[in-house]
Symmetry: C2
């Protein structure tokens, strides 16, 4: 298997990206194609390319983190993310992983590979740590102004992903709203409620903001506006807790003693709340495997995202997703 990794994507690219790719290859023996400026990548590899499992595919350009996705893709035809998806289209690789601009990654995937039949809008499904296990939040890919049918499709796609890739049988699907009862929420959500109820997925009804991380729903469906706010808020809060907690601890002598004694634990705890540590989030609904990672991903997160891509390919998730969408639309 060959995985194309966008070596130019991410806040700490290519350094940590290359390190993560090396780790993934060492741990699993898969082949990696590092896509980007070969000079920069070679410097990042720093002589560690000791295996024929790692290959560099050169290209000149890269999309920056803060660029407008569509504009950037139009003006930079030879960007690392477009090149990576083109390798996938040509069959030279089996999946693409990028920690770069996630809007541009999703757009490049759609432009290059196209959408799965029956999917109006591909979406990004992010897995976050919940109280009772993993929770899939979909969409976090910026699909704003969604129609109810889009929310329905997000639910169906995440269902296929969870069952075929994460091994969750009949995942519990919830719809994000402002009250648990049917009929609560805005118009979009009230209509999506009815559609999800008739969809055949294991729909448990509305979930509220406070329920997202409980894990009662294993899939939480929302539009990409609110998904983005939820993801960034929870990330910001997790960081804020740590900062505030440490600051408060350091204030008192007793606190300082507690912090000193518990420092190993605090570090571990910090990691469980850090989404940048959690690996990749798949783009669901494109004709091929594309995984986006947090811009701040560590090498370990990049490694985990590559392993997720491998899982996706091995479990033929795309195929199952296509079949499920076809059955669903029939």
């Amino acid at each position: 298997m060959f995985i194309a990794v966008d070596a130019m994507g991410g806040d700490n690219a290519p350094g940590v990206v290359v390190q993560g790719a090396l780790q993934a290859s060492m741990d699993t023996g898969i082949n990696i194609v590092l896509v980007g400026d070969s000079k920069v990548i070679s410097a990042g590899l720093n002589g560690q390319k000791n295996s024929d499992k790692i290959r560099i595919h050169h290209c000149d350009e890269a999309v920056m983190m803060d660029e407008s996705p569509l504009k950037a893709l139009r003006s930079k035809r030879d960007s690392s993310i477009m090149t990576a998806f083109e390798l996938l289209k040509k069959g030279e690789v089996d999946a693409v992983v990028s920690a770069g601009n996630s809007g541009a990654t999703m757009a490049a995937g759609i432009l290059t590979l196209g959408k799965i039949e029956g999917v109006d809008r591909p979406a990004i499904a992010c897995t976050v740590p919940g109280e009772k296990g993993q929770v899939i939040l979909i969409d976090v890919g910026g699909n704003v102004d969604c129609r109810p049918v889009h929310l329905l499709q997000f639910g169906v796609m995440a269902d296929a992903f969870a069952s075929s890739c994460l091994g969750i049988v009949r995942p519990r699907v919830g719809l994000l709203s402002i009250g648990r009862e049917a009929g609560k929420g805005n118009e979009q959500v009230r209509l999506a409620y009815n559609l999800l109820q008739e969809s055949g997925v294991n729909f448990i009804g509305n979930v509220e903001g406070g329920d997202i991380l409980s894990g009662d729903a294993q899939i939480v469906v929302c539009d990409g506006f609110i998904g983005n706010v939820v993801l960034k808020l929870s990330e910001g809060m997790a960081e804020g807790f740590n900062t505030k907690f440490k600051k408060e601890l350091i204030r008192s002598i007793i606190g300082r003693a507690a912090a000193f004694i518990g420092r190993g634990f605090l570090k571990k705890f910090e990691k469980t709340l850090d989404y940048a540590e959690w690996g990749g989030a798949p783009i669901l609904g494109i004709k091929g495997v594309g995984i986006v990672c947090h811009g701040r991903s560590s090498a370990r997160a990049i490694r985990n995202a590559i392993l997720m891509a491998v899982d996706f390919v091995n479990n033929r998730v795309q195929e199952k997703l296509s079949i499920q969408m076809a059955q669903f639309n029939a």
Copy 2:
């Protein structure tokens, strides 16, 4: 001054509500009218009504926490929350405080007192603890499917509140979106951006989910759907953090020692993150002072909410808000 307190509203009514009212009266010497079932309230007072500052106004019914606001108000004309606002309308009290069903409280306020000229939709402004000081989130009152002009009005009302009640000169107003640049977000937000920019408030542009609690924006404007999700998610995370943290600490011997040494601190920390401890949130845009509290409010939070109501009356916030809306619409 007389403050009507909905003695039947809240998860722990009338017990903690009555306790909070007693505290507020003792601390400030204001008069309290406890509205609700006199038998139940008397039991809650448990002989502590040792002052002529506390009066009971009997009524038979109460709106339950999970009832549909409008239905409940229609079928229960004699509910404590309607009665409290009617006392305000008649001039017998100066403000209403309730920890009951916040949708019903807002609806009762609108039905009884009416809306301030120029306000299409009254909204609830909740103050949350930010890194750089208090942050006002508006709307958290369930105004779903807002038009851009509603978001604009939320910003203008919160501006009047912050400057006249919290003493914040020219508060920094941000608009919740999924990217900081102008043009990011859904259609509603993109249009509201332009309106806020021309409104004369100190508009600092879009803020993202991760920025809400930073305090860069002292007022964060959003519709009531997303405001509700944000509030409940952050509340749930604060709780989850504590639970998870304690569970993790207890796992290891070192953690247990740290928890034991720092137990006083942990308790304090828990409180700073608990919105139920934070007092009241004003309903802005109705013709009178109405303050809602968290259903789980402690006696101290009820006391704080009553003090906020007193501040509102003393600072003539309603009058200033009306003037600001009139100037704004002129």
